[in-house]
Amino acid sequence: MNSLTLVRRIAARPSIVFDALTTPEGIACWWGPDGGPVLLAETDLRVGGRFRVRFRMLDGSEHESSGEYREVARPKRLAMSWRWLGGDDSGESLVEIDLRAIAEGTELTFTHSRLHDEETRRSHEEGWNGALDKLERHFLASSNGDRHDQA
């Protein structure tokens, strides 16, 4: 219930998708919102290594997320802890990405879970409020160009 799963079929082999997900060069190309730049992307791709991504929204606000790689199995699976950086500690959640080779390329299964851990509940509350307010403003501002999908 407090997790989110999205599935995408991508016309590229799993190793290419994996590298797009994990290299600073790749992240810089897709991470930011449409029209907003990625300001910083760092990855230390090994179990226990950290990543950090900073991007600017269309409204000019900047956001940073970071975490630690928990599983690194190129080109099949990637798991990392996830945290928004801000004035408040926003609590930690978990991102898992599985890549399965299919005839057309790759089936990507993305899961963001523990969005609401009882332990981190209070800290989440503070952090998400701000982050989501900004996100909502962003979505409202860009809702015309928004792509809707059935995933």
């Binding site: 995408r8 991508i10 082999r13 797009a20 190309c29 390329g105 990507l108 979505f139």
Partner: protein, 117 residues
């Protein structure tokens, strides 16, 4: 304006439990069921079901009304709708990114093929 607030906390906390989710699913099919009818499919005793109903009631997900000796339970959809809205916004955040990731990786794949790999 849907914020991440205490109401969402209560909603998600209530939805964590599988028995409570099963109760809500049942009410979705059969709104206005009696407590004893709700308790029937579960292996747990009536007082345990009552406790789950208390949690759902506190979260504002159901309302209970008493008529004679029968307590009727109804769904109260608003908190659920707010929780779904919150998740949906999060989903849009990732959805847009995965679209861009796909486009980028597909470009890289085309390049790799052109190079004959």
């Amino acid at each position: 304006m849907v914020n991440y607030n205490r109401q969402l906390d209560r909603t998600f906390a209530a939805l964590v439990d599988p028995t409570r989710r099963a109760i809500l699913a049942r009410l979705e099919r059969e709104d206005g069921a009696s407590v004893s009818a709700l308790a029937k499919p579960f292996a747990i005793k009536l007082p345990a079901v009552m406790k789950h109903l208390d949690v759902l009631d506190d979260a504002g997900l159901i309302t209970r009304s008493k008529l004679g000796r029968t307590v009727t339970v109804r769904l109260s959809p608003e908190p659920m709708r707010e929780a779904m809205d919150w998740l949906r916004r999060y989903e849009r955040f990732w959805s847009a990114r995965l679209d861009r990731l796909a486009a980028y990786a597909e470009g890289k794949e085309a390049e790799a093929r052109k190079r004959g790999r």
